[in-house]
């Protein structure tokens, strides 16, 4: 069993910026060293690695720069925004099963430059599933997300003003977080309603930031964690999820396209856990686009289908709400690093050291991208 066997014991973040004059490998090394120092673990103790298939810094380069010892496990999780918790869960399983003892999971990314946008590299001939959408002009992830949001608005009678509450709530958290890229920028309903449309009904503020930086975490067996520097963030439960007839980013062909792979992850995650949604103190929900927050809150069963935007408007995800969400500002307002900042913020909440600290936070949910095959972890304090 994986339950409560492992913990996140170290976290490391580089500076976050629109443009860092450094390579992804350099940033990755920095973040991993900070995470190991935070944990109080010597690099030569690391024997397991986890990363993203989208990660461009190879395991052997990481290992020989940092001076790791002999490695006995490594794996990569696919699908970008769906990967962070999967990479973590896989390393946790390797450690729980005894294959390895100390694992590092990292993501380093230079995405601040607009020319690095993946959609801008679309090929002239498309042979994957995107051949069924991109030729008609549905090219960017924001377009693919927007399609589901308009349907959701139609089905549950919401409009842009209702969705604005998501970005505004996250911006307030960023305003409390000095490291957030949007720390000094306020966001009002008026700003939101007047914003440039990117893919109607989604506007500029419904999109994540484009940023440079790296984040790493360190995982050990719980027994080892107890002798280290920090309050361990215990990995209580973990699951991946891919639903029937799922199609990456264009999940339009199942019986109900609004029922994403998150429903599969959520159902298995809760069944593996000792807790239910009402026990969660704080949630870090993957937010490349703002609709993913209401969609995920419903998938993870925090409220009935169609009700999340109403509850968010009533303050559900605010710092004094029943379920504070993305308390560092998230991908919309802190930094976009494929959701790894959501993991470190979950750990900070469990340690009691977050900027917008939720009092007595003992249980934190961290999720990944609602529109891809995905994963989630439930982190527990002692």
């Amino acid at each position: 069993m994986l339950k409560d066997q492992t913990a996140i014991v170290g976290i490391g973040e580089t500076e976050f910026s629109k443009s860092i004059d450094s390579t992804e490998l350099n940033l990755a090394c920095k973040a991993i060293k900070i995470a190991l120092d935070d944990a109080g673990i010597n690099p030569d103790q690391v024997d397991a690695l986890g990363s993203f298939t989208y990660e461009e810094t190879p395991e052997f380069e990481i290992a020989r720069n940092l001076g790791f010892g002999n490695l006995t496990y490594w794996s990569q999780a696919p699908y970008g925004g769906g990967a962070s918790c999967a990479a973590i869960g896989q390393v946790a399983m390797a450690i729980a099963s005894g294959i390895a003892n100390v694992g590092v999971v990292w993501r380093s990314r230079k995405r601040g430059d607009p020319s690095s946008r993946m959609w801008s590299h679309t090929n002239e001939h498309i042979f994957d599933h995107w051949k069924w959408s991109r030729p008609s002009g549905l090219v960017r992830p924001v377009d693919e997300s927007s399609m589901l949001m308009r349907r959701y608005m139609y089905q549950y009678n919401y409009d842009r003003k209702d969705l604005a509450s998501v970005s505004i709530a996250l911006r307030k958290y960023a305003n409390c977080n000095e490291r957030a890229l949007m720390h000094h920028k306020s966001l009002t309903l008026e700003d939101y309603m007047n914003a440039r449309m990117i893919s109607d009904p989604l506007c500029l503020f419904d999109n994540c930031l484009e940023s440079d930086g790296a984040i790493a975490i360190v995982i050990t067996r719980l027994k080892m964690a107890e002798g280290l520097n920090n309050t361990p963030a215990i990995i209580h439960s973990y699951s991946q999820g891919m639903s029937k007839e799922h199609q990456l980013m264009t999940h339009y062909h199942s019986d109900d396209p609004l029922e994403s792979s998150s429903y599969v992850t959520a159902s298995n995650l809760w069944s593996l856990s000792d807790y239910s949604p009402k026990d969660v103190d704080v949630a870090q929900i993957y937010d490349a686009f703002s609709p993913m927050i209401p969609f995920s809150l419903e998938a993870y069963d925090f409220c009935p289908k169609g009700e999340s935007l109403k509850l968010i408007n009533e303050g559900l995800i605010d710092v004094d709400g029943d379920l504070p969400v993305n308390t560092s500002g998230g991908s919309l307002s802190e930094v976009y690093l494929h959701g790894m900042n959501l993991v470190t913020e979950g750990v900070k909440q469990i340690r009691g050291l977050a900027n917008a600290q939720i009092r007595n936070a003992k249980l934190a949910l961290v999720t990944t991208c609602d529109a891809t095959p995905n994963a989630a972890i439930l982190l527990k304090g002692e």
Binding site: E124, I126, S136, R150
Partner: protein, 137 residues
């Protein structure tokens, strides 16, 4: 960035779809054994795992399930067309078969709404590919 629209690459399992589109006909892949329809086209029947498939011509009549209006920054070819409407349409004959296509309207695009009834048209891209799009009735 590419100058043209991205063009669907033709594969064995979807060749009849594109051939039919070039003849201004929309067709849906079915299992040749258990007859179950499926979209997008694929190699194997997810119901009975047969590799045999056949194609049935459909009217193309559809209901607008949802749509978006992409705005810049876009690929240059789409940036020149913006604002345009891309929809996900549900076929009248097959509930749950949904296809992406551009939505065109004689009247203002602001009047397009979910639930509109649509009929299919085809836009020739080259000798092998014509893309289906839908117009409001």
């Amino acid at each position: 960035m590419i100058k043209s629209i991205p063009i669907p690459g033709i594969e064995d399992f979807d060749k009849p779809y594109w051939e039919n589109c070039s003849k201004q006909k929309l067709s849906i892949q079915h299992c040749a054994d258990c007859k179950a329809p499926r979209f997008p086209p694929r190699h194997m029947c997810p119901k009975c795992q047969s590799l045999n498939h056949e194609w049935n011509i459909v009217s193309g009549d559809a209901i607008l399930w949802s749509f978006v209006v992409p705005r810049p920054p876009l690929l240059p070819v789409f940036e020149n067309q913006s604002p345009y409407v891309v929809g996900l349409v549900e076929l009248i004959e097959y509930k749950n078969i949904r296809i992406i296509g551009e939505i065109k309207s004689k009247s203002d695009i602001d009047s397009i709404k979910i639930g509109d009834t649509l009929s299919v048209r085809f836009k020739k891209i080259n000798n092998e590919i014509s893309l289906p799009y839908w117009v409001r009735e």
